[in-house]
């Protein structure tokens, strides 16, 4: 690990926490994914890192918490406190441009803009086509969803009619 003694503690802690990879999409860091909300230090030197879960049932949340704490401890921060932040809820809109680029590079179609929450009942649209997801390999929009869920709750399964390859898509949430 490269030591950067010139950095103030808070900045150093933030950098370390930001670089922790996501357990389910390991090409992304927690910062890329947007689940790292805040890292700050208190006057007594405690590092307080705030994380937000992606899905309610995300089985990786405890791993993320433990990974962040372990890396901060390994970097010499003795006192680490991890907080869970539920509000405002995580959205795929929080995935950074850098994160989207990495997803595409790994053959995963990044999410489009999450649906806007209007006031009142959540509308249900039956049948008909929904959004067109461009193929991360060839860019064609001649694609079709083959399954609403893939290996994890956050991804759906698609097929490209142009290059005939299957691919995953991070669902808008």
């Amino acid at each position: 690990m490269v030591t950067t003694p010139a950095l103030p503690d808070e900045q150093r802690a933030r950098r370390i926490a930001a670089e922790v990879p996501d357990p389910e999409l390991p090409m992304l860091t927690l910062a890329d994914l947007g689940v790292l909300r805040e890292v700050r230090t208190t006057p007594d030197g405690t590092v307080v890192a705030s994380l937000t879960p992606t899905y309610s049932g995300c089985p990786a949340m405890a791993e993320m918490r433990a990974d962040v704490a372990a890396r901060l401890h390994a970097a010499g921060f003795a006192q680490v406190e991890i907080r869970t932040v539920l509000d405002p809820p995580w959205s795929t809109d929080r995935i950074s441009p850098e994160g989207r680029r990495k997803l595409r590079e790994h053959g995963i179609a990044p999410p489009g803009r999450a649906p806007r929450k209007a006031a009142g009942p959540v509308p249900l649209v039956l049948g008909a086509t929904r959004q067109a997801v461009p193929c991360p390999r060839c860019g064609s929009t001649d694609t079709e969803q083959t399954s609403r869920f893939s290996a994890t709750a956050c991804r759906s399964l698609w097929r490209c009619h142009a290059c005939l390859e299957p691919f995953e898509h991070v669902k808008e949430l």
Binding site: Y55, S56, G57, P59, A62, A66, L86, P89, R148
Partner: protein, 298 residues
């Protein structure tokens, strides 16, 4: 539950092997079953009635836990791999909602219990879920029809609870809304596909709706000390939730060439702890390992 990719597995094993020196003992029956509300501000606003809040969290948590257990029973039994994965993921979302609701319940009901105490160490009569969620899975049509009814009602209710005066319940509800939107969409698409499909699929979906119709009323009229009784935000309440639920069901069933048959309500009062004979065996399976090794950690 996790990804099937080798790289992901490697990472999971690595992070387990790294050793977490955070002092958190792990519940023995899964990785990472530590407090799902870890570090959330747990204060209860003065205006909120703690026991009513606890009752709502418990009822909604029990609905989700029992429904998720039924969904998990589809593992290795679903008609196609894609549907198996979908049902498992929906169950996982509901399990996550249950965990947070139980954790909140334990903070406000005065017992200071943790989620495991609610899931593993309560008797059937202490559960407050509606009968709808405990009925056996039946065929795929029945499970899908039940999922449509449950997710439609739950979405209608939780989208309103997102504005409730307890900030933790409001946040749990807000987080669940996009998940439930997805569950409802999945179930609705399947109900239309089966209802508007072959003669056999139509027949089965019709039979499923006939079997489930008596259990809908319990969801919509749960009263007093339970769910709609404590809706604190304006513009919420039993009537609005009922209207939205029935409206969406009518929309889906019309597109499927079906309707919800008029049938007398089933005699169960799950919100009061009066359950069908199906809940006890479900819980026995769910709770068996935890009860054999109470308080086990690793």
């Amino acid at each position: 539950m996790s990804s099937t990719e080798a790289a992901d597995d490697d990472h999971v094993y690595l992070s387990l092997a790294e050793g977490h020196d955070d002092g958190d003992a792990r519940w023995a029956f899964g990785t990472g079953f530590s407090d799902p509300l870890h570090g959330v501000d747990t204060a209860v606003p003065d205006a909120v009635d703690g026991s009513a809040l606890a009752a709502v969290c418990l009822a909604l948590g029990d609905d989700a836990l029992v429904a998720s257990q039924r969904l998990a029973e589809w593992c290795t039994r679903a008609p196609e791999l894609e549907e198996e994965v979908a049902l498992a993921n929906i169950g996982l979302d509901l399990l996550g909602q249950a965990r947070m609701l139980y954790a909140r319940c334990g903070q406000v009901d005065g017992t200071d219990r943790r989620e495991d105490a609610y899931a593993y160490f309560r008797a059937p009569a202490d559960f407050r879920n509606v009968a709808l969620v405990e009925l056996p899975n039946g065929d795929f049509a029945l499970s899908i029809a039940r999922l449509l009814i449950l997710s439609t009602w739950r979405l209608a209710l939780l989208s309103r609870l997102a504005g409730t005066s307890d900030p933790v319940l409001a946040a749990i509800a807000a987080k669940a809304v996009p998940e439930l939107t997805y569950h409802r969409q999945y179930a609705a698409d399947w109900v239309v596909r089966l209802g508007d499909g072959t003669e056999e699929s139509h027949r089965r979906m019709r039979a499923a709706l006939r079997e489930l119709a008596p259990y809908v009323e319990e969801l919509l009229t749960a009263t007093g000390d339970t769910v709609p009784g404590i809706l604190a935000a304006p513009d919420t309440g039993t009537e609005a939730v009922r209207e939205e639920t029935l409206g969406v069901l009518r929309q889906v069933l019309a597109a499927a060439g079906l309707d919800l048959p008029e049938r007398p309500a089933a005699p169960y009062r799950g919100r009061g702890g009066e359950h069908t004979e199906h809940l006890a065996p479900l819980l026995e399976e769910l709770q068996s390992v935890a009860r054999e090794h109470p308080e086990a950690t690793w």
